[in-house]
């Protein structure tokens, strides 16, 4: 009997394991295990001792009760984070798709334009971010700078205040919520544009992997640029909307500026309540997972896959 011989598919499967294992070892050691470890922590109080490392004191559901019932900020931050996600992610997606389409055109100085659009991602991380906390620094200046005339110090820029007045006068009152959505976006434009850099890059890479022969064929058939965009470009990269949605959701939820992240940082690192912070993070995580699952389920039905 051929007891020890494997089918071709199985042999390839073994190679698959071999290929995946270096990454997987790193992943299991530094992400999966810590991930499970934090579940255990969330049911305990972590007691840090100088000599023996740390000890765990069993608390049951106390940490979970605490965050919903006692903690003054948790529920508020949770709701705010979810609201922000729903407000920001669509705008980020639309903007980054738009920017990527423009940057994919051939024109002189394209690389420069791409670099400039990616700048916020480079600037807004690491050291520079810390520098931005400075009262005289970049960010406050930028936010003010857009509306403050440097020579006179007078407010000159078009802030959303004027914009919303303008739009509200023009439109019927039942449109007000939509108006405030748009004007809110104008107010947060610095953050939104900041959050779009990676998505633009992903869309760009995706746009570049559309086979050019498709466009060629459609141009020969006499299609216009507009038709090409909606009938080739858009369906071909629709699956990348999924990827970018995942990325944007993760990014808005776990950004350092997110109030929930600041809260977790404070509870965990400054107050050294690791157990409590783990419990908070886990509830937060579970909610993100749930939302993400629902959103992806809804989106993946409309996505077109080219075979």
């Amino acid at each position: 009997m051929r007891r020890f011989s494997l089918s071709l598919e199985q042999r390839r499967g073994i190679k698959g394991y071999a290929f995946i294992s270096p990454f997987l070892i790193g992943f299991v050691m530094f992400f999966l295990y810590p991930f499970i470890h934090s579940v255990i922590l969330s049911f305990h109080t972590v007691d840090i001792q100088r000599e023996s490392g740390y000890g765990l004191i069993w608390e049951g559901l106390e940490n979970y009760r605490y965050m919903f019932r006692v903690d003054p900020d948790y529920n508020r931050h949770l709701v705010a984070s979810i609201q922000n996600m729903f407000l920001n992610v669509p705008i980020i997606l639309i903007f980054s798709f738009f920017a990527a389409t423009l940057l994919n055109q051939k024109f002189r100085g394209r690389t420069l334009a791409r670099a400039i659009l990616f700048l916020p991602v480079i600037i807004s991380s690491g050291v520079v971010m810390r520098f931005q906390d400075d009262p005289n620094a970049l960010r406050s200046l930028l936010e003010a700078g857009l509306s403050v005339d440097p020579s006179t110090g007078a407010q000159t820029g078009l802030r959303s205040f004027e914009l919303s007045l303008l739009l509200n006068q023009m439109l019927p009152p039942e449109m007000t919520p939509y108006v405030s959505y748009i004007t809110g976006a104008v107010d947060r434009i610095y953050d939104l544009v900041n959050a779009s850099g990676v998505q633009i890059l992903v869309f760009l890479a995706a746009l570049q992997s559309i086979p050019p022969s498709m466009f060629e064929a459609s141009y020969i058939e006499g299609a216009t640029g507009w038709e090409n965009f909606w009938k080739i470009t858009f369906p071909m990269i629709s699956s990348w909307f999924l990827v970018n949605t995942v990325y944007s959701i993760v990014d808005t939820f776990t950004a350092y500026s997110n109030p929930m992240m600041i809260k977790l940082q404070r509870v965990g690192l400054e107050q050294q309540q690791y157990g409590r912070a783990s419990a908070m993070a886990w509830v937060y995580f579970a909610i993100i997972m749930l939302l993400m699952g629902i959103i992806l389920k809804l989106m993946s039905k409309r996505v077109f896959y080219y075979e």
Binding site: P34, L141, P150, L201, A205, S209, P212, Y274
Partner: protein, 286 residues
């Protein structure tokens, strides 16, 4: 390709061009502002640094900030080149290791079938969403058991299994046509060779994108809780110490910042200039 370009020129009107250009110029101006501010600050003399309202352009351009920075750095206990080496080492080794292993894993996940594949991928995607601060304790314990605390390999090891790269690469690997890989296998290429010579070149835009993201992440890495020895610390740590020196060090801080952000920007520009269309579907008839 050539046909398409010619057709495009006929189709797109001058006004279309102007509209696209204006749009891009406006957004670019908006995003370029902070950089402009960093540059101008680096060249401002100290007495103009804290002027209110702030000015975008210095009245007297000066190189004093850079000079002071170098004097300050050459007097420090650990020479600046040591910090620079640490950061460059972490960035290069970390990026290479992550890009290689993540692509390898992504290739296997996208193009091979084996039991447990789905669970592995799902758990990797899930880990994207988990916040890093609560993973800290366990990561530290594991690293210390491996004896990697206070070693640059702690940063590199942590980085190998990061989920984002795999997620990105897997999505792109899915798009590589199976028939292309199959034909290479039929010609006798080993699986590793198929990966390296067929699959990797086909996803070049994605690889370059991932490199940008990695360099960007590692270049700014401070190794905060894993590196203790002064001679192992990274450039951002050295520079932020200068910036914390107070008001008098503001100009130096700006000069330091200009130097440090110029590297990721450079990497980005070089990479993006090299992104070319990949013709994975060329030569395939189905």
């Amino acid at each position: 390709m050539r046909i398409r370009l010619r057709a495009k020129k006929v189709n797109r009107s001058v006004w279309g061009n102007i509209a696209v250009f204006t749009m891009l110029a406006l957004t670019a101006a908006f995003m370029g502002l902070p950089l402009l501010f960093v540059i101008s600050n680096a060249f401002k003399p100290l007495n103009e640094f804290y002027l209110y309202p702030p000015r975008f352009f210095p009245q007297n351009w000066t190189l004093t900030n850079f000079k002071n920075l170098f004097i300050q750095l050459s007097n420090s206990w650990v020479p600046i080149t040591r910090y620079l080496f640490n950061t460059v080492f972490i960035t290069i080794v970390g990026t290479t290791a992550h890009v290689f292993f993540a692509s390898l894993a992504a290739y296997a996940l996208a193009k091979h079938n084996f039991p447990g594949k789905k669970i592995i991928f799902t758990s990797i995607v899930m880990s994207l969403m988990f916040t890093s601060n609560t993973l800290g304790i366990a990561q530290y314990i594991i690293l210390s058991k491996l004896g990697l605390i206070d070693s640059q390999f702690s940063i590199i090891a942590l980085n190998i299994g990061a989920a984002l790269g795999l997620f990105l690469m897997k999505q792109f690997m899915e798009g590589v046509p199976d028939s292309l890989l199959e034909s290479a296998r039929m010609d006798g290429a080993s699986e590793l060779r198929v990966f390296w010579q067929i699959a990797m070149p086909s996803v070049k835009p994605a690889t370059l994108t991932l490199i940008i993201l990695q360099v960007q992440g590692l270049w700014y890495n401070t190794g905060s809780s894993f590196l203790y020895s002064e001679q192992l610390k990274t450039l951002p740590v050295a520079l932020s110490q200068i910036m914390q020196g107070g008001i008098a060090f503001g100009g130096m801080g700006a000069a330091a910042m200009l130097i440090i952000i110029s590297v990721p920007i450079l990497v980005f520009v070089i990479n993006q200039a090299n992104v070319v269309r990949t013709f994975t579907t060329s030569g395939i008839k189905e």
